[in-house]
């Protein structure tokens, strides 16, 4: 298997196959990350496509030594989500429960998996922003501590502390108890 750094270099040189492989490696988790962060599926899909198109447009400006490619992609996604949320906040914003309920005709008909995802979104929504960003990148985006630190511009120690506290908060939110 080719290393990510090699693939990135090939993609910078115009190798479409290399870029396609990078796309395949990161598509699902970028979509997952965005899906958790935004209100509904359609918005998540639009933003996911937008992230990869932007990455394609600006691949020539990317430098590996500054940021790992996955972290670079998540940084694009993170910024796009922030822009999207700001745009949404200017509009009349319904609570997450209402938005989720409107997106589905009958919550009872939701599958068990969808409901569990819905609970996860609610739990993440209750976290402070710094913890939410770390938890999303770390547990949803599956980035390493170093990648999360570079993506958010924080130190690894800070990220570890935020990760620990976020996990404890999520446990309380998901299960109603905090036993740490």
């Amino acid at each position: 298997m080719l290393s990510e750094e090699y693939l990135v270099q090939q993609a910078i040189n115009g190798n479409q196959a290399a870029f396609t492989q990078l796309y395949n490696q990161n598509f699902d988790r970028i979509h997952r990350y965005i899906f958790i962060k935004v209100r509904d599926r359609a918005q998540a899909e639009d933003l996911t496509q937008d992230v990869f198109i932007r990455a394609l447009e600006s691949i020539n400006t990317y430098k590996w030594r500054d940021l790992p490619f996955a972290a670079w992609l998540f940084k694009i996604a993170h910024n796009r989500v922030i822009d999207h949320v700001r745009k949404q906040s200017k509009e009349k914003r319904a609570p997450l429960e209402e938005a989720y309920a409107r997106s589905v005709e009958d919550p009872i008909q939701m599958t068990e998996r969808d409901y569990e995802v819905y609970q996860l979104k609610l739990a993440l929504e209750q976290l402070p922003e710094a913890q939410r960003d770390v938890a999303t990148l770390r547990f949803i985006g599956q980035l390493s501590i170093a990648e999360v630190a570079k993506t958010l511009g924080k130190s690894e120690g800070t990220v570890k502390a935020l990760q620990f506290n976020a996990t404890a908060s999520l446990r309380k939110a998901l299960y109603g108890k905090f036993d740490v």
């Binding site: 479409q16 598509f27 997952r32 198109i53 447009e57 995802v117 949803i140 570890k160 620990f164 404890a168």
Partner: protein, 398 residues
């Protein structure tokens, strides 16, 4: 303690991510087992729930198609910029079309307005543009000939305006038109003189001018020459009252003034070249003007017939004079038709036109005839110089 637990928790989570079992990890830190186990189970649960988030198959397909299209046609990514460029060029094209159209409309409007103003009379609203139009045309009249021709044409236009106001019986506008006609007449005369200024006749030979030569009063009566000597002699004196009539009479009789072939004064106290006028009555010829030979208006044309420019100048002069006569006649007709109170106004206008134009015509002709005389007869008639002492045409023909 807390920081250490952060590191331990992170280490345990990483080990689980890479396939190690929860029990194996917890065995590494038995003292933190109670704290780490629920947190690590929570991360398991979060990962499990997150794994449920999968893109829809159709979205995955279309997103891939779009991404590959973007890779194959990278120029498409410049499409928004190109679209803006195209829009800008389209606007520029339309903008140029608008500008050109506006320019054409403006030129047509200005041209038609100027054309309309050229026919305007003083009472028309467009008359204010008429001088502007003429100024533009005047700028293109560069050479003296063209300038003289143009100024004469404009003078005739002013005369036609004055005539129209006279025909309309508008005394107030006629007075203004008379002033404009007078100004333009001046310009035309100057322009005509400028064309003649290029003639070689400006090089006048130096001649002795007896004008300022005083004639001493002598008690001795002048001996009257025989009548057979028809040559009148023109003498200048410092006063011209007593013998003026006699002098002018003799001049008129002779027709031309020539220097005396034979001095007729027996006791000539004047310089030798100073002619003396003798009268049959024995009066002292004190009032002798520097009478020029009786030069008629036609003389310059005849004397400068060899010069094309002079003939053109004369032609322009004739046009001015003819138009002046027509204007005067129109003003007189208007005066006849006018009421008793307005007659004086019309008479003022007539006087203004007649006086000024006649004066200029005379002076112009005098100047021209003077030059002509110098050119043709400078051997026999000295230049008398000053225009002040020249008699008016009425005096000459008296």
């Amino acid at each position: 303690m807390s920081r250490n637990l952060d590191d331990i928790f992170n280490e345990c989570y990483e080990r689980i991510r890479f396939g190690e079992s929860l029990e194996s990890v917890l065995r590494s830190y038995p003292q933190y087992r109670s704290q780490l186990e629920p947190l690590l189970r929570t991360t398991f649960d979060i990962g499990r729930r997150a794994s449920f988030i999968q893109p829809r198959p159709e979205f995955r397909h279309w997103a891939r198609v779009r991404f590959e299209s973007a890779m194959q046609y990278p120029q498409r990514q410049q499409e928004p910029v190109r679209r803006e460029t195209q829009a800008a060029s389209m606007w520029l094209r339309h903008g140029w079309a608008v500008i050109v159209s506006a320019g054409i409309v403006l030129m047509l409007g200005v041209g038609s307005t100027m054309a309309a103003s050229s026919q305007a009379m003083p009472t028309d609203p467009l008359y204010a543009l008429k001088p502007l139009t003429e100024d533009v045309q005047r700028a293109f009249a560069v050479s003296p000939d063209r300038k003289a021709q143009f100024e004469t044409d404009i003078a005739n236009i002013r005369a036609a305006e004055l005539q129209a106001m006279a025909d309309a019986g508008n005394a107030q506008e006629a007075a203004k038109a008379a002033q404009r006609y007078d100004d333009q007449f001046e310009k035309a005369v100057q322009a005509i003189l400028a064309t003649e200024g290029t003639e070689p006749i400006v090089t006048r030979p130096p001649v002795a001018t007896p004008v300022t030569t005083p004639t001493p009063v002598t008690p001795t009566p002048v001996v009257t020459p025989p009548v057979e000597v028809p040559t009148p002699v023109v003498t200048s004196t410092d006063n011209g009252t007593a013998g003026e009539n006699a002098a002018t009479e003799n001049t008129t009789q002779s027709g031309t003034a020539t220097p005396p072939a034979v001095p007729v004064t027996s006791e000539n106290t004047t310089p030798p070249d100073t002619p003396a006028v003798t009268t049959g009555t024995g009066e002292q010829p004190t009032a002798v003007t520097e009478e020029q030979p009786a030069v008629t208006e036609e003389q310059p044309a005849t004397t400068t017939s060899g010069s094309t420019q002079s003939s053109k100048a004369q032609e322009l002069r004739d046009r001015l004079n003819r138009q002046k006569s027509t204007v005067e006649q129109s003003l007189k007709d208007a005066r006849e038709k006018a009421s008793h109170q307005d007659k004086s106004n019309w008479q003022d206008t007539i006087d203004k036109v007649s006086k000024k134009t006649a004066t200029r015509t005379t002076s112009e002709q005098s100047d021209s005839s003077n030059q002509t005389t110098i050119q043709t007869d400078n051997k026999t008639v000295p230049n008398t110089g000053s225009d002040k002492n020249r008699p008016s045409s009425s005096n000459r023909h008296r």
